[in-house]
Subunit: 146 residues, 2 copies
């Protein structure tokens, strides 16, 4: 049995590590507040300078963007075999991107509409704060973040 | 090139499918609201009847539980190769579990403290609503949920 003080320590990630994970994660989870309650949506996104952009249709994500509300995006990289991983959290505010030149530029970055019959919107989450922690799982039933 | 109308449809999961994913996902992402802003934390958890239980130390998750605040837990199962997956969202309210008998029972379910030197708390998220959708990724740069 491993003594408690030999268990791996939780660690805070450096800014560059956070940024790297954010840029390479295949998917993120976006949280918004709707009627005072948090909601979470998995979204694909791209990092565009100091913000995250993603497409969205009408709905609560767009509503939040139109109101410029606070939101959070969490991404992680987990190794279930090794029981280790990292998690990064971005907090900021959402906005809809409506400028045509800006939309064309974002299109060129690879955020495509999800179906040609739809006309989804582009939302931007400003990266106001980015933090990250290592995650350690110390037994089969445990998986913790600092 | 695949015509747009041949792209996979987004689908709503049946209640039993949602429940199964929730019970078998290795980790979930918990969203709470702190000072009006959403925050997301990866947590391990277990499903205990009509609620989700997890351990937490002092901090914003415990604060939210002490106030009985609304929270959300999202879990997913993604196949990056096949570009398909499912995502389930639970919404409800958080509470701290303080009853000794209840804590002992929950301990026996396998939610252990993450370090013996700590005395973390147990929080419960009542499953007030559970919904799920299929996720389809239609190109390398796309990953969408309905």
């Amino acid at each position: 049995m491993t003594p408690a003080n030999h268990r791996p320590e939780l660690q805070i990630l450096e800014s560059q590590e956070c940024r790297s994970l954010l840029e390479h994660a295949p998917i993120g989870r976006l949280a918004i507040v709707s009627d005072g309650r948090p909601l979470i949506f998995p979204v694909n996104y791209i990092v565009d300078g100091e913000s995250i952009v993603f497409r969205t249709a009408d709905g609560s994500k767009l509503d939040a963007a139109l109101r410029g509300e606070a939101a959070a995006m969490q991404v992680d990289s987990l190794d279930h075999g090794a029981r280790t991983g990292e998690s990064v959290l971005v907090v900021g505010h959402l906005h809809e991107v409506t400028n045509e030149d800006e939309l064309l530029r974002i299109e060129s970055l690879g955020v495509q509409p999800w179906a040609s019959g739809h006309k989804p919107h582009v939302a931007r989450l400003d990266i106001e704060k980015i933090t990250g922690r290592s995650i350690m799982r110390t037994s089969r039933s445990e998986f913790f973040i600092g």
